[in-house]
Homo-oligomer: 194 residues x 2
């Protein structure tokens, strides 16, 4: 059976849970608190030297880290990864963009406001500005299709919905982004969450 | 023929060039300056709304962005992507880690020092600290094997060598990291660069 070390307040961890549920995989979830230092114990660091959740242990105990690498591993051969080479590449483009240009602003703002109780007004302007740009880019990316890559749900949607759906908790306003709001509802319905 | 829009001062762009050369792909390189605003023109933004290089245009003109997504697309079916599912997943883990925990510190410090002529002493302490941590993590990751994933060169090595080999330009000291230094030489030799 798979083991997932995750913190339920983390969108990166929830992604892995949603995909495991969606694919009907059997797993054990071990709640591992980021705020309580459980990702920094010697025992955890021995499994993941990066000291981050989510962490997947395969049935034989081999570890795998990085949420999007875990998604790609678990979903291999499923319809969540497009069969077409170009669509697959675009899915990967969104997933790398998520970790570089979306998560560091949207997730970080939400963490600081909701969990560190920092007032929205005192967030770094750079974080707010780039977060807004990321959300606008998502809105533009949804102009021609119901999902980020073509007509069907893919890992790109799962990776990007995780923090977009809670962007409001970091002070971001989704009201001017109707396509993003409709897409969030669509992805949540497809995953059976929300 | 492929078209690559890239800036030769960018490790993210050079990755794509190295892999194209290594795989013997025919391509046209269009030098596109980040510092001169060439990634922000209306014509460029129409191809890549994220306003970033590298950007690949396939032979039929379809665009693909994000350096690591481009590498994965170009190298599909080649020995640079391990055939074993777990090794492939570990390669992806390193590639996502690179964009989240390495590039934002090592590449950003190098850009500020070398191209914006900022003194090393005035870099944000957070950037320096996390950059050092990333390099130490690489050193540990090379304890048991000549390459990041097993015994052979993979895209993980290409993705990570790009900015590690020029980390010194951002003020980072590779002297205390003998495995990293030997690995850089090994990857450069395998790619025929250096």
């Amino acid at each position: 059976m798979l083991t997932i070390y995750g913190d339920s307040i983390s969108g990166n961890c929830l992604k892995v849970k949603w995909i495991s549920d969606h694919l009907g995989l059997a797993y054990r979830w071990i709640e591992t608190g980021v705020l309580t230092g459980e990702t920094r114990t010697p025992a955890f660091l021995a499994m993941n030297p990066a000291g981050q959740v989510p962490l997947l242990l395969l049935a034989d105990g081999r570890p795998l880290a990085q949420s999007n690498a875990i998604l790609l591993h678990l979903a291999e051969g499923s319809p969540l990864i497009p069969a077409d080479a170009y669509e697959r590449a675009r899915m990967l483009e969104w997933m790398f963009w998520e970790q570089y240009s979306h998560e560091p602003y949207i997730a970080v703002a939400r963490f600081q406001v909701r969990y560190l109780e920092k007032p929205v007004e005192s967030l770094e302007p750079r974080i707010v500005e780039r977060g807004v740009q990321a959300l606008q880019r998502l809105e533009a990316g949804l102009a021609d299709s119901p999902f980020l890559v073509g007509q069907a749900l893919s890992l790109a949607d799962v990776a990007l919905v995780a923090y977009t759906r809670v962007a409001g908790e970091g002070g971001f306003d989704l009201a001017p982004l109707p396509r993003v709001r409709a897409w969030i509802a669509r992805v949540e319905a497809a995953l059976g969450i929300g």
